[in-house]
Point group: C2
């Protein structure tokens, strides 16, 4: 069981552990009316990663909350300009209570449900990106979890201004890991390269779906560390930013250098075919 | 200017960036009636680290909030058993607004002010501690900041049960860095050793004050990496956990091994002498 909070009613409890320590996780889901793009994968990830954090929630509970959210938000946030799409956000926290960092036993999680209009799509001809000055650190115990500890991403996102669409963060050894809100996929001469799951701050839903789809088409996909040379060197045939709400976004210019843009990849992902 | 929220009135805004991303920082201060232990250092740290995060707040604003907090909370939370002491907590978030991680320009911070009774003091004969299985990762840009990104500390604190008072976290190279809520100070043959500020998740107020005091007394203090051998080997003359609310806490038993306990250090820190 959990306590449900509608974000439009306001009033989070002041003692919520999400607000105090970032003790929780979230999902952001692209919706069309009452259906969501790859929504099963989103809810599976939330239930699984909540388990890793020791926050009790079932998939059934999350599904019921989504159904209620559709009733409440779909008409209000869907817009004609975006084909009736809108964005659903679920924030699950460990709840209230405990002695400082140490949670009490048996506390009930809080689920905060909010919605927003679908943002405008980025240019399909390629966006402008740069390297972030904020290093990315990933705790080996928390890899891939879309937790509420996102201060590094906030600090990096503060660098995004003007024509910049995204900044790319590197780990302490200089390997490129991900954007503030996107995973990376690099097209190289003989296939595709992407940083491995164990290196990721957030293991994206679109990333996983796309890797499976590419492999099903027989295209070679290698999960390995990605260096600056991999994206700025002459072997690079394209760099793509992956976000399950925004989609597959080609980078046209990175740190002042033009990159090749091939829109073939964008057509693989048709959100309307992935509604559940 | 900031928006003030009294925690006992509840009702954080659902869009607060502290709750969404851990985009903020906090201070916990030991109070006696209307005065606080080392409170200037606490407020200085909050104002300085808010500046590092780009959250606008002045020392004067923090001082005024503390004065109001004393009026509201001192009588309610002070107890005779703890000599009239209580605990004041200030949580400063970047506020509400922005596109995802990216904050809007000019948003007003939220300051959430809460209080709690002073916890019972730990045994002066030495507490029981262990090594945490949760590794500590510290972003080089955010070292020392008592930010709201504390999920690692929460996960480690879940290991604290039974007679355990604290668990000690190590970095990826195995060096001991800090407890979930305490800094470390090791007494060795020829003085004192403590991990350097640049390695710390939280650069504690008591730690800094104590290092200055020891140095003023002419005692050698070295800031360097601390290995397991430094605390478990025969050169170790004592391990102390430092927390500005709890005080200086000697460890009597670490990972099943007895450690020497010398209460000389505890007498250096007299909170009643450090009221401001």
């Amino acid at each position: 069981m959990f306590n449900l909070y509608w974000a439009d009613e306001g009033g989070l409890p002041a003692g919520d552990r999400g607000a105090a320590y970032g003790d929780g996780l979230f999902e952001t889901i692209r919706m069309y009316g009452g259906r969501g793009v790859l929504i099963s994968r989103h809810l599976d990830r939330m239930a699984r990663d909540a388990g890793r954090l020791g926050i009790p929630i079932t998939l059934m509970e999350l599904r019921k909350a989504c159904t209620a959210a559709v009733s409440r938000y779909a008409r209000r946030y869907a817009t004609k300009e975006r084909d009736g799409s809108w964005v659903l956000k679920l924030t699950l926290t460990r709840g209230e209570g405990g002695r400082g960092y140490q949670p009490s036993a048996g506390i009930r999680p809080n689920l905060i449900v909010s919605a927003s209009p679908m943002p405008a799509p980025p240019a399909s001809s390629g966006v402008v990106a740069d390297f972030s000055r904020v290093p990315l650190t990933v705790n080996p115990l928390l890899t891939g979890i879309k937790s509420l500890n996102r201060l590094e991403q906030v600090m990096a996102a503060r660098e995004i201004e003007g024509e910049l669409f995204e900044v790319i963060m590197a780990d302490s050894t200089g390997n490129l890991v991900e954007g503030t809100r996107t995973n990376l996929l690099v097209k190289v001469l003989d296939g595709w390269v992407t940083p491995p799951v164990k290196s990721l701050a957030v293991a994206g839903i679109l990333r996983q779906w796309l890797l499976e789809r590419l492999r099903a088409r027989g295209e070679p996909v290698v999960e390995r560390a990605v260096s600056i040379g991999d994206v700025m060197g002459s072997d690079c045939r394209g760099l793509y930013l992956l976000n399950s709400v925004i989609g597959i976004v080609p980078v046209g210019r990175l740190a002042g250098q033009d990159l090749p843009v091939d829109n073939g990849l964008a057509t693989i992902f048709n959100p309307l075919e992935l509604l559940e």
